[in-house]
Symmetry: C3
Subunit: 279 residues, 3 copies
Amino acid sequence: MICLTTTVNPAHWLEQVRANQPLVHNITNLVVTNIAANALISIGASPVMAYAKEEVADMARIAGALALNMGTLDDRVVQSMEIAGRSANEAGVPVIFDPVGVGATPYRNQVAAHLTHSLHLALLRGNGGEIGFLLGAGGQVKGVDASAVSDDLPRAMKAYAKAHQCAVMATGAVDYVTDGERVWALSNGHPLLAAITGSGCMATAILGGFLAVAGKQQTPSRYAEAAIAGLTCYNVAAEIAATRAAGPGTFQATLFDALYHLEGPEVNKQAKVAEVTLS
Amino acid sequence: MICLTTTVNPAHWLEQVRANQPLVHNITNLVVTNIAANALISIGASPVMAYAKEEVADMARIAGALALNMGTLDDRVVQSMEIAGRSANEAGVPVIFDPVGVGATPYRNQVAAHLTHSLHLALLRGNGGEIGFLLGAGGQVKGVDASAVSDDLPRAMKAYAKAHQCAVMATGAVDYVTDGERVWALSNGHPLLAAITGSGCMATAILGGFLAVAGKQQTPSRYAEAAIAGLTCYNVAAEIAATRAAGPGTFQATLFDALYHLEGPEVNKQAKVAEVTLS
Amino acid sequence: MICLTTTVNPAHWLEQVRANQPLVHNITNLVVTNIAANALISIGASPVMAYAKEEVADMARIAGALALNMGTLDDRVVQSMEIAGRSANEAGVPVIFDPVGVGATPYRNQVAAHLTHSLHLALLRGNGGEIGFLLGAGGQVKGVDASAVSDDLPRAMKAYAKAHQCAVMATGAVDYVTDGERVWALSNGHPLLAAITGSGCMATAILGGFLAVAGKQQTPSRYAEAAIAGLTCYNVAAEIAATRAAGPGTFQATLFDALYHLEGPEVNKQAKVAEVTLS
């Protein structure tokens, strides 16, 4: 694997999010509803959490992006995800799917397979273990936490992205992003993110804000760029937040503060994004 | 509109809440369950969150107030709200209804209309956009956030309150309260309240504590007074909390601290309540 | 009642939790999902929240412990608790049950009775009012908060533990633990724990981590020892957190910080555990 540092412009994307305050429709898990909403508000977007099958089609249609997260499933929420996803697909609204805990139980595997097959995703995002499991590229899942990431992961992600015409992101100590043609490695972030629940789910929510400003029916390349910008903003905010925290509890609070006060030029300066050439 | 500053006594109400620790039964949304409970504990009341149709009638009957919040709906929670609301009505327990996100989807509009028609409310509370939409007085709702408030809002609120014999409150940069006879404008609060999710929902929960100490089967005038006192306490606490916060994350934490340590005389001193004469 | 200070070794248990990072499957209430997960991560365990009847049997089987908390019930979650509990029982995985709010409504009483009869518990844990009500030893429940604890409580707990071959814990200003043969009184903790919602629910979740490292199909005595160690760690962390907090909001944050940085030797030094001889 050869890495080539790339110049990116998250600051531009951040500015767009704050200027447009895009509405992000989240169908997410019961553990993170509050923090996912706060993450979106802090970065400058406008969250809505709506679950009822009677309204999710209407809400997804008027949203800038739809973020689906299967952290706590049941048959009703799966049904709502499917209805919302189809409505978003029809309206060209970008859909993000976070297959939390896939690999942990047969039910999660079945739901993840069903949703990835029946919906067109703009972005598939999970931790390395989840994405690896889902794409058959190894990776072990214990509960809903990430474990070892296989070396074959970026290759499998690239193939999947190309086949499904979407962007794919796997987060971890190093985050990989691909649009099916190119692969990037992102190295921002902080270990305290792993010491709070829902740090990946907050990333998924925030990426919704960035995909929304990318616009409807865009190319995988454009959605990948939005995802790189969004995750870099989030992870640089985490680096800043960690300097003001005394542990995971205060970090959760300072993370929202850092997102709220995040300065684009600082993000661009701290960004660690490299394009990767797979051998 | 002519405003006349009014002397109010939130300190007296706060003292009553702390002395009686009233039980407030909340059927609220999935985003704010935790913070609504903490807001109530911090101010001195005793929260209970109960949703099951098998128990909400029993719980509402023994509570001092019932707070219904439709932030995240589904058919089951709507059914529970209706059962709990009827039980509270029968027992004379004051009911607060917060029509979160009304105007955003037809389903929300239908549920809000159904609940406001089938239950007798002590207090209807939402942001200006929601109340405006619900009362047909303009106001636009994007997702669940407030937008512009029409000048006609206080007039529509007064008419609704008179017709339905309840108090009505619309919150925003300026908050309006009416009992159907008089209208008040409240000007405490802080912009950081808009930077955290659920600040309105926490207000609704806290108002439950104040309506509970107002007592059962009281006049709209008395419930309006309780609502003015409760919102003023909450908003003055927000002002204090903001001086100790570095952004929305730390503000969420210092808000509970400020509610917990809130001193009645300080609230009375900072209170900005004016009676409004509509032209 | 005669008390004899006992030397305990929570440090050893804490080390085991951190070394093994046991998976704790929680079916808990909607108010505390986030903070229960964060409490477990902060102490070094690995939380999973899973509710669907389609997957709870699979999840409970692979977990180190199953923690059931009936804070916000409905028929679906009760069904899932039963399925998960039976699966855990079959696999020998220790089950903790927290009968939140039992005594408040007939429905809660019925669910608590059903679950305690149909499942074999490793640990029954509630506040004094709840345990007293459930065991017919007095105690009043108002909403979901504890009230007065009867003097007969430890005696009733001991009899129940012996009859059902489990450990029983009742928390309060003084916490009681019994394995059916012996009774201990624990005196660590801080009043701010009563000023945040879910402090008992976080204790239940954390105890799951300690019971998990105790292992499968252990004696009530061993599970009681794990529970004493776990609660002592939690309560000493609360004492440390309180010194860094300015009220309940900042305390919630510093509590996770304190759990994360908790040092075993410090816990052993601060531990206040006494064996109790009932007269």
